[in-house]
Subunit: 394 residues, 4 copies
């Protein structure tokens, strides 16, 4: 196909060429001094990204789903009870991962399209007088619905309940796109993957873990070998890993951290928020409905769009791919066929977003959805112009 | 900057990643057998692209301007008279190149924005009873105005006048974008450069030359060494060059020829024509005026847009660059400040074009030009949908 | 540093530029049709490489150590007894991985530097009248010692004992370097990683599993989620994965499989064997001793060299790195300080090997080891010339 | 072929991966502000490399042969007399280029294999009482023979003769490999190409020109357009070029200049000299003879080796390519079949050089030349160890 491909699934996104180039360097000895320096640089940069001074960073070849398993088997024991917040497909899978390892997951079911209400968590924790809940499991940005829950509010709720449970957060689709404050919010585990805000190809699970989580790790009895934190921390102290690390991804990670740092985290978040808003203005001007209910919970990373009555979103996504080579995210699990998702994360700019909105307009029109061509683009353009100074709002 | 850069000058355009990758191969011995095979493949592919069975292909590290010099010094002698068709900045420079080498250029001045009228050429040649004109110099697509002249008509005019002059054509901005038939139109030299329809980085001049041009070459007395055809043809016969060739560009050229061949030349031309039309529909819906007068002469490669009264196009281009990082082509020579040019050549797709049009809309609006946001995009989208089956028109 | 870096650890090795280029392609939707085609192609190629018609291929972002865990948790249950063959650092770790998951590992301890004797396995299995051993764990090529055990002989031994245990083989350092016949040798699991004979950057675990292993999988009760085979097989049937796959590595894998197939597996193995032999001729001519005892067990992948009496191999390796930027593999575990290891796997040619041997000679000499400079190289050159027709021996 | 290719012709050499990566960046507008900054940086770096404060740098898409033409047509007029120093194939071609443009070249013929004797130049200039010689043409490093002439001595000779001729030097194979002092030696033109010490793919001619040369340029009457200096200098002052520049090569040039600067020019020259010496020690230990006569004139860039009596070097080069995929340089012109040339320029390290020498030993042996295998390598290793501290000699 002519031109550059678009990839508007909610991660991975198109890897920036600086990162692609960084990853193409000749491999180095993963037990040598050059590698040790690379590791130090990467861990340092990740601590800044997670906003943690006291946390530890753990890296594994893997994926976000591997990050779930890594989080669970290192902090819990079979039979432990946890509170699992479920407001979408991925939070459901996070909880199922725990179940697979023998954890007793008490589910806090939340309607898809809304964030996890902190007061509901507080209420459940207040009721847990014996502190049987060893952990709260939550996803910051539900990639299946485009909803971001407030981890700050969750922390406040846990403090209000004076509950000692670990706070285990999936920040896969939020880290690098949305504000995250590991230390301030007293997270115990924040787990993510390479292919979202870090702008890398998939293939790595990354975790920040607190001292309290490390404490829990010492007594956690879930069987583990590959994912074991202690082995990694010990090896890392000597500049290497207990497994052969994904060196090329680490080269890329160094570069992407450098890019985020050069731009400035606040600017990165604002850029994401601004493009996300422009996308939503466009979608609404196309007379479509957002799947997320509460504007305060709209995600910086992706926008889930409800398919108009009478149309199947899976068929629409195939149509869009055929018409303009634009891959979009499908509705997953119980919203299959009901929504499509637009990724606007990582390295993307205004003109690319306009191209994406244009492609969606064209695809909707030719799919039979009634809409005024150009209206979505006009709305997005108008918003982008209004906010065109690109500076942070004061 | 986040996202992928746009580069909408009328060449070079963004090099497709297949070509970038091909160019990154390890260099090879430019006098060895692997190189000879590469050269054969490239020459073969270029002959197909120029649509010549009998012509010879000549490659030089250089540029389009180098191609002009190469064409002139190989076919003419100081004092020779030629008919130089001038309908824009680049055709003017082509003629000036001839003048620099002592050629007596009789200029056929044509209003900028229009193609070279074949009947005017015929008239001039008819008057030249003694056949003092050794050559006709013409540019197929004037990159400064976005106008494509009909070489087929020029050939017909020359035949009608039964004039033996060489037909020396600059096809820099047209080859690979627009139909060109070297043999059928009896061109004597067709010269181009790497960074247009061939989708390569700049750095190479490419010429197709006829037997008649080679005949002229034998008696041409312009001083030459680097550009000398005979040395290249002799070396090429042995699989190498008399100079160190730009091997990396040849790797890239092999890949871009493969891409053009895979897509099919007719499809390549139609894709260019379709996107060019969509661009113009969009521009006109923004209430702007095209600089080219005659729709039959609209270029597949670029669109020159007249700046609305009261606005300076140079300032507008700077504004567009600042606002949305979108480089456009300036007005050159006597249209400086009066127009901007949009390149839509090489490897570009619909969504990218929509992004470009969106960027231009936003830039115009914020520059103070009155226009309805979204109208240009709607017009382009409508046209693209109408022609969305992407097949060749019957 | 000037020039191209050398990386003679026993994997990863320098990634061939074809693979580097393939990996730099733009990412694609891992749930789309293009990905499904990529997956099919890769699975097909891997089956040919493993020489299996009936086995299933399973891919995970991970490492060889992840492959161990994946193998164990999918086939066994806590409390199961297995026979673990230990003849080096990595076979020891393979067994420890099983232990971590509650498996009762009965160790068959073999002297480091020798292969696993099939008759000892047969004897242990014969004694196990009740068939308490659910599996035999073995490493084909022990990366810590440069010894290759005969899996064919092990299979024969198991058949002789008529024992139903699963045969679980680590082929990390052998696949793509040494003959492997999954079906013929009735392996149940053969696990490997990306960064050895597959010539990729690290980051992927790959397994071939038999129908019998899948059968065992259904009743295996080790906790698992990420590594679960069933989820992968089901998703793969639809052309995707239950996790976000490492798409860039899959692009690279497609290319490396293509390279292996173009060269022909027999040629690939012979090339490895020939360079390995040349390396060993050179090392012996330097008056050093190989760590592996039996020439029949010499590895195609790496050569472990005993450090001469009175010298510490860790210090020597640092010296070599400082002197000529040549990273070598250290002695691991109980041979720490006693040997160094030379990787000669993947994409390496004769001149590179000579450079490596030259660097080792220079480093030894300047480290104080008495040896005649040039002797090692002469021996390697002589052998390479004797075998220079590069064809397979008849 | 497995492994990384070797390319030991005397340029181009293997491009360092840093440069390859730099060249793969997305193209930018060659008339925009980012380009202007790139140009400034590159011109600044080149001035440091040429060691000129007062000279001007001129860049053209082209080759070394283009650099010759550019030098001639900008400084001379048809009929001008020059003194052309000819001590090899390329100095001969340099002079022939001048002849092609109507220059009257008085040749100072020097035996191939020796440098240009400064006293002979002085003698010729002393005799030229009327100062009819407008210029002296000389090649610093004759790529056909591996001989470096002393430009410092030539300048001294010209000063001794108090002759006002321009000093026009081809530094194609020496710049970046060997000391060059444009200002100190009062060179008027020093011309080079991308693919030698600058470690780039071929495709660019680079010139440093003095004020005196610019003065000559104003009255020089050779016809020129593409190569015209004035147009370039005027455009460069505004941050662009009068032709479409080879932007990708400029990206690469910025990186290679950065690499040279990071290493330090003195270190770069010493590294070249040391590897060149090691190569020659190796060759002589193979009982072969160097073509260059005087050790003081041995080139840092390449070594020309006389083929032993009774053997044809062209056949030997083919044999080496077939046997070990090692391309070497052929004997050119009147030494065709009589010598082969080993390039050891640009980005190359000790282990690569040992590999090259090993390949040559093997090829010689199997070609029938009597030599003790390993002797050449031992000599090179010995020398490299003796000089292994890699620091500059005090």
């Amino acid at each position: 196909m002519a031109g550059r491909p678009f990839l508007q699934i909610p991660g991975p996104s198109i890897v920036p060429e600086r990162v692609v180039r960084a990853m193409s360097q000749s491999l180095i000895d993963h037990r040598g001094p050059t590698f040790a320096a690379l590791l130090r640089e990467v861990l340092h940069g990740l601590k800044a990204l997670f906003r943690t001074a006291e946390g530890h960073i753990l890296l594994f070849p893997g994926s976000g789903t591997g990050g779930w398993e890594c989080c669970i088997v290192n902090t819990l024991s079979p039979g432990d009870q946890v509170l699992g917040c479920v407001n979408g497909y991925f939070s459901d899978l996070f909880c199922r991962t725990a179940t697979s390892h023998g954890i007793d997951v008490q589910r806090l079911e939340v309607e898809y399209g809304t964030g996890v209400p902190a007061d509901a968590i507080e209420e459940r924790l207040q009721r847990d007088k014996d502190h049987r809940f060893k952990a709260v499991l939550i996803v910051q940005t539900e990639t299946s619905t485009g909803v971001t829950s407030s981890l700050a509010a969750v922390r406040k709720a846990m403090d209000a309940a004076a509950h000692p449970a670990l706070l285990l957060a999936d920040v896969v689709s939020s880290l690098g796109c949305t504000d995250l404050r590991f230390d301030e919010w007293k997270l115990d585990v924040a787990l993510t993957a390479a292919q979202k805000g870090l702008m890398l190809p998939p293939g790595m699970a990354l975790l920040a873990v607190s001292e309290k989580a490390l404490e829990a790790n010492r007594s956690a009895r879930c069987a583990r070998s590959f994912w074991d934190w202690q082995a990694v921390l010990e090896s890392n102290a000597d500049g290497h890993f207990p497994y052969t690390p994904a060196t090329a991804l680490l080269f890329g990670l160094r570069e992407s951290l450098k890019m985020l740092s050069e731009e400035g985290l606040e600017n990165v978040f604002y850029r994401h928020a601004r493009l996300a808003d422009a996308c939503r203005k466009g979608i609404e001007a196309m007379t479509l409905k957002l799947f997320a209910r509460d504007p305060a919970e709209y995600s910086n990373t992706l926008t889930a769009v409800s398919m108009p009555e009478g149309f199947d979103s899976d068929l629409f996504i195939n149509h869009t791919l055929t018409l303009v080579d634009l891959p979009l995210g499908k509705g997953l699990g119980k919203v299959k066929g009901k929504l499509f998702r637009i990724g606007h994360l990582g390295s993307i700019n205004e003109l690319e977003l306009l191209g994406v909105l244009g492609g969606i307009e064209m695809a909707l029109k030719s799919f039979g959805v009634k809409l005024p061509l150009g209206a979505g683009l006009a709305a997005a353009e108008t918003y982008l112009l209004e906010t065109a100074d690109k500076r942070l709002p004061l």
